[in-house]
Symmetry: C2
Subunit: 199 residues, 2 copies
């Protein structure tokens, strides 16, 4: 359809969003034009501000437009000696939603992957090394993803912690709560057996 | 998560898009920030241009940033006396993709719905009335949706056409090509029988 160049540009631009194909892009463009131009303008504004102003926290490397994020600046969290290492900023949201953790975070923004040329310095491990050296961290909780790369990254960081004589722990792998035992894969179940706890 | 106000604003703003909930909005925001800031800025630009500059074609009422859209200005299409009436600009894209139609369009931007207070003038039928009066239209093809409201709207426009002594036709309802007969609903099948053609 060649009725509007700007409409075509909008549909093309919408496809940079994950999971948005030509049909969804068309639906989104028409929906905004027909029913929610104000929302569209707000989105344009939020996007351009976020893309230009959001950088990384100087302490934990998560996304923030400040020099240091609110979590790292929180005195209560600073007093807590726990540091939770996660792969991405989305993981912070997941851990925060549990309400179980009141320490600080460190975001790797990826995981070790030598085949892709991603080494320790690419995921900020020199910064982590410095923070462990400074000495206000008592325990590092390794909450990387339970994948091969995540495990390898956790292992690498655990060794770093041992060098600095800082305790390191790994989040538990096991049967998901509410799941059914016969639907769980063998590897998870064997982790679940190995990690059994006395009750 | 309170690490970034602008990130929260972006996630909130993304939810104006149809089919985007909190989780998708989070995924979109992180994807753009981590991997495609340039795409995000292009989207912001395309959005603000589209929302402020795109209006309606003076002839067919579809979305365009020009006074009159390219389809209406095309001399070949002007020479063709057919006018296809559709409910939304997306329907133009659908009809155009068939390559079967080389006339002009008229976009209602909705359908008659007295219960919602949508009358003939709200869907541009006074403009259509004027165009039928002017006399360069030989046939009106009614391609409104095969819903109750779409049918009622088609019926109303057909009567308008008869008043002006212009031929009106309705697109065929029947079994979709490639479909299976036993999976087609009864109403469609009865339309299909009534609309049978000699071969």
């Amino acid at each position: 359809m060649r009725t509007s160049v700007k409409l075509d540009q909008l549909m093309e631009a919408l496809r940079c969003l994950p999971g948005v194909g030509p049909k969804s892009a068309q639906r989104m463009a028409f929906q905004l034009l027909q029913r929610d131009r104000k929302g569209g303008l707000q989105l344009a504004d939020a996007l351009s501000q976020a893309m230009t102003e959001i950088g990384h926290c100087s302490q934990c490397r998560t996304f923030t437009e400040e020099e240091t994020c609110h979590i790292c600046l929180n005195p209560k969290r600073q007093a807590n000696g726990q540091l939770c290492v996660v792969e991405s900023p989305a993981d912070i949201a997941a851990v925060e939603s549990t309400g179980q953790f009141s320490g600080r975070y460190f975001v790797l923004m990826g995981h070790l992957s030598p085949l892709d040329g991603i080494g320790p310095s690419d995921i900020g491990l020199d910064e982590l090394d410095y923070r462990l050296k400074v000495g206000d961290i008592e325990e590092v909780i390794l909450a990387t993803n339970p994948t091969v790369e995540g495990e390898a990254t956790a292992q690498y960081i655990a060794e770093l912690c041992h060098l600095h004589k800082v305790n390191a722990s790994r989040i538990a792998h096991g049967v998901p709560v509410g799941g059914e035992l016969d639907l769980v894969d063998g590897t998870t179940l064997s982790h679940s057996l190995l990690g059994r706890q006395k009750i």
